[in-house]
Amino acid sequence: MPYEAGTYDVIVVGAGHAGVEAGLAAARLGAKTLMLTINLDMVAFMPCNPSVGGPAKGIVVREIDALGGEMGRNIDKTHIQMRMLNTGKGPAVRALRAQADKFLYQQEMKKTIENEENLDLVQGLVERLIIEDGACKGVITQTGAAYYSKTVVITTGTFLRGEIILGELKYSSGPNNQQPSIKLSEHLEELGFDLVRFKTGTPPRVHSETIDYSKTEIQPGDDVPRAFSYETTKFITDQLPCWLTYTSEVTHQIIDDNLHRSPMYSGMIKGTGPRYCPSIEDKVVRFHDKPRHQIFLEPEGRNTHEVYVQGLSTSLPEDVQKKVLASIPGLENVQMMRAGYAIEYDSVVPTQLWPTLETKKVPNLYTAGQINGTSGYEEAAGQGLMAGINAGLKALEKEELILSRSDAYIGVLIDDLVTKGTNEPYRLLTSRAEYRLLLRHDNADLRLTEKGYEIGMIKEERYSKFLQKKAAIESELERLKSIFIKPTAEVQELIVSKGGSELKDGIRASDLLKRPEMGYEQIQQLVPSDSEIASDVSEQVEIQIKYEGYIEKSLQQVEKLKKMENKKIPENIDYDAINGLASEARQKLKEVRPLSVAQASRISGVNPADTSILLVYLEQGKIARLSQ
């Protein structure tokens, strides 16, 4: 018999990257929050790559930070190396990536959670939800603890009916040999949720002292101090390098010879794996002509010799993995500390969710992270944050927060999931964002701080600093747009020295900055500002002026999108009553139940004619109401 263990506003099931953001967000909004995890020692654990960020993902981390989330701050405190990627490209695709000390990362996160007001962190395996009148009212754990709450967020990662596969071996398990969550999965099925089986994998780990680094290339971090969080002021300068090596012809031969023992090819693995994260056996089979594949050796922390072998994700039998490792230059005598493995797990078909991440079937129940069919810590954290925010807002009876595709990568991610679903573990890519020039890494604060402040995630002090920065950007933009530069000898000399052609006439400072050879630095040299301009301000000014034309174009598109976003579809719409909808569109609309015409138009199978018909139908309803 369950016993009453407590009452909360919000309960978060799971304490991985989605769970911690969800719990912290709800608590920071002022909701009394409980976080339940199967194992207290595994809070914010990185079962795979010890790294945070990268293209698109790194921007998500910044967005999380701008909304008052924790991932950015935590990695800033615990990384072993940080790099800015794509510095040679345009501003839209620059991104930070950090290698984490995965143990420190966990410790820091756990400490933050423990110190957070309104937040209780408790060990417990949730087996059932408490459902009353069709809505979720709490959870019951394996030990019979019944916790009551207004909303519940499930962030179970790969634990749902998890099964580890390693060669011929297959056993029930969560990631890293954790206890899996089996009953909850069955319970979700009972409640009528559509579940789907996905698969992912991880490479072996090896002992650092058995690696011959002389046969590899060093991959150091940046010399410049970097940080994800807009609040970070202390930078880590002591960085550890990563190392690069390659598979060899021998590696590929070993894999070819042992394919019959690979669960991927023997049919033992049934789940759908991600294409962007293929196992080494997959790469060798699909790209047979490629003579070698990159292997990055990444330290898992400062206080360990374990090294993550990036590029070698595999579910081949343990003995084959050892042979494969030994065939790689630098790893000839390596000691394998853990074998790689594949893991299959249940996830919820995400089109069953509203854009708030609340389930359509069971009100007050939210899901976030890998359970929604994504992969990656950042994707999980972004969803966790939004689910936590919305579960908290609902518990506090406040209005929901939905980010649009033009607000944030997080908006793109969630909209893709709930509108289109996914048939493989979903990863964010910059190409998924149609407004990527607007969703830059450098302007996440400008895009989101306001929203974070409005709901209470951003504190007064940070907000006033943000307003100061915003004002500084505005005034500097104004200044450069109003000031004229005359073609004096000094000016011409500077332009020519930068490889540009001489001015024929006077020119606005902002127009001169638009020239490809000119940077903010040169403009500042020609027409210095009276006041000190901070580097994050000048960066904004430079980007906003230099790419004004493209930014303007994107903004116009967003304007159009917004109009369609504002055309709301009532929840009780009867798609069967609309004549002229194509049958595929009708069926998809009934399934997804889009909130706006814009969302409807993004459903695959809903074509422009269907969208038009929907618009006309909605307008008809509006007129009907007016005339009553």
Binding site: N49, P55, K89, P203, D282, N607, A609, V616, K622
Partner: protein, 484 residues
């Protein structure tokens, strides 16, 4: 009466005129609103807030008054000028109708121009290039409804109309999609997609070292190839037009050389397809004849009948410009006269055009210097006729047909674009790729150049009804071996 007209009628019986709320404003759309290739006049209609502003960008009237300043429901004569090249595109009449007393309740501009696919498309392109968007099937009616112009009871009919128009457009499109055009577009899109995937892999996997970094040089190479393919496709739209509309043909020659006889024998020998299209507002008369499978559209024949000397009438430069518009020129000489300065002038102004030289009145004693004619004609065919005795017409027809079929045109085995929607989309795609190339020249970062490159891909996708973004991601992972 079609549905749209019905809606027009019920406008004033409509009981409910709900206001245009702020979210009701739309972008400005445009479409050709007359049936294709059938009338002497065609109308390109614009509707939306920017309709007048767009028209003003391209219109130059007799008076200095801008269209945005004229009274509502008035019509104006003038020319369309391409603001980029500052060249005259068309001679037009423009109706200005301000909302809300219009079909859509928005500002509406109707550009009346010469009928025929090419001229009307040129107008459409110009409008599109200056800020309008191509309307979707039934969109004008949809707006009429959404802006409260149409009674509630008509909503069903509006939805039916959208469905029917879309289906019909799709059918037409599908009809044209069969065969080579769709293959060509697909191949071109695939090529663009591979380049896009290449750029994306550089962005999303910056450490992936097996693929060369996309440089401005490589990008430029790919873009210029796409551009030349698009230009080629657009040129075929001219060929498509020839098959659809006929080879526009002009007969020139001094007075009394037999131009009218030539016209008459071409028309009588061959069954005229269309005669005397009622020149409701313009006195252009066109004759359509079918010469051995080659459709000829004999232009400005009224002028010829009056046997006026074109050069004398409008001057050398102007006549050159007029003749340039023609696909084929029949230059008639008189066998029984010596070559005159006017004759030589005709050769001069038709230099580098497709000309068949006809020496008529072979029944009369010859005074013409045949060698001199050959010299003037250069490589172009010469046919001798006696139209009075019905001699040589067969040879002339043979010459026309071989000129047509010997060229790049292969009637049976041709990829050509004639659907105006497709032409519009291809032209827009061409503009997008041109923007991309200009951006490359300016040294813009590749991921920004990509914006216009992607746009090219999307526009081509609209032609074949396929703009699913997912395919880029599919391409990325099938083209490159990526992962942890």
């Amino acid at each position: 009466m079609n549905l749209e007209q019905i809606f027009y009628k019920i406008v004033f019986c409509s009981k409910i005129f709900h206001k245009r709320d702020e979210d009701m404003e739309f972008d400005t759309i445009t479409a050709i609103s007359t049936p294709m290739g059938e009338g002497a006049i065609a109308i390109v209609r614009l509707s939306g807030d920017e309709a007048l502003a767009i028209a003003d960008k391209i219109y130059k009237g007799r008076s200095a008054k801008r269209l945005s300043e004229v009274a509502s429901h008035t019509i104006h004569y003038g020319h369309l000028i391409d603001p980029k090249t500052e060249k005259v595109v068309e001679e037009v009449m423009i109706s200005v109708m301000r909302g809300p007393k219009t079909f859509t309740r928005e500002d509406v501009v109707e550009i009346n121009c010469h009928g025929g696919l090419v001229s009307v498309n040129r107008v459409l392109q110009l409008v599109l290039a200056n800020g309008a968007r191509l309307a979707e099937p039934g969109e004008f009616t949809k707006r009429a409804f959404l802006n409260g112009r149409i009674d509630l009871s008509q909503a069903e009919a509006v939805m039916d109309l959208i469905r029917a128009k879309t289906d019909r457009a799709m059918n037409v499109a599908l009809g044209q999609m069969e065969g080579r055009l769709s293959k060509l577009i697909r191949a071109l899109r695939q090529e663009i997609l591979e380049t896009l995937a290449h750029v994306e892999v550089n962005i999303d996997y910056p450490e992936y070292d097996d693929v060369e970094e996309m440089t401005h040089g490589i990008f430029m190479e790919r873009a210029s190839h796409v551009k030349s393919e698009l230009e080629r496709l657009l040129r075929t739209s001219e060929q498509g037009k020839i098959l659809r509309e006929g080879l526009s043909t002009v007969i020139i020659g001094r007075p009394n050389v037999g131009k009218s006889s030539l016209l008459n024998s071409l028309v009588h020998e061959n069954k005229a397809i269309v005669t005397d299209i009622p020149g409701t507002t313009r006195d252009v008369i066109e004759e359509y004849v079918n010469v051995r499978g080659v459709p000829l559209r004999l232009l400005d024949t009224a002028g010829i009948r009056e046997t006026e000397d074109i050069v004398e009438r409008i001057g050398v430069e102007r006549s050159r410009a007029v003749l340039k518009e023609a696909d084929l020129i029949l230059l008639v000489l008189n066998n029984s006269d010596e070559l005159t300065v006017e004759d030589e002038q005709l050769f001069q102004i038709t230099e580098d055009m497709d000309v068949i030289v006809i020496i008529n009145k072979m029944d009369l004693p010859s005074k013409i210097n045949i060698d001199k004619v050959k010299e003037l004609a250069k490589e172009r065919p010469i046919v001798t006729t006696s139209l009075l005795e019905d001699q040589g017409v067969d040879e002339l027809e043979e010459a026309i047909s071989s000129l047509f079929f010997a060229g790049s045109l292969e009637a049976g085995d041709m990829t050509y674009v004639s659907n105006s929607r497709h032409i519009a989309l291809i032209s827009q795609a061409l503009n997008a790729i041109t923007d991309a190339m200009e951006a490359i020249e300016a040294g813009t970062p590749i991921d920004l150049v990509q914006i216009d490159f992607t746009r090219t891909w999307e526009l081509l996708g609209e032609i074949i009804g396929d703009s699913v973004h997912e395919s880029l991601i599919d391409q990325l992972f099938s083209q490159f071996c990526l992962g942890k």
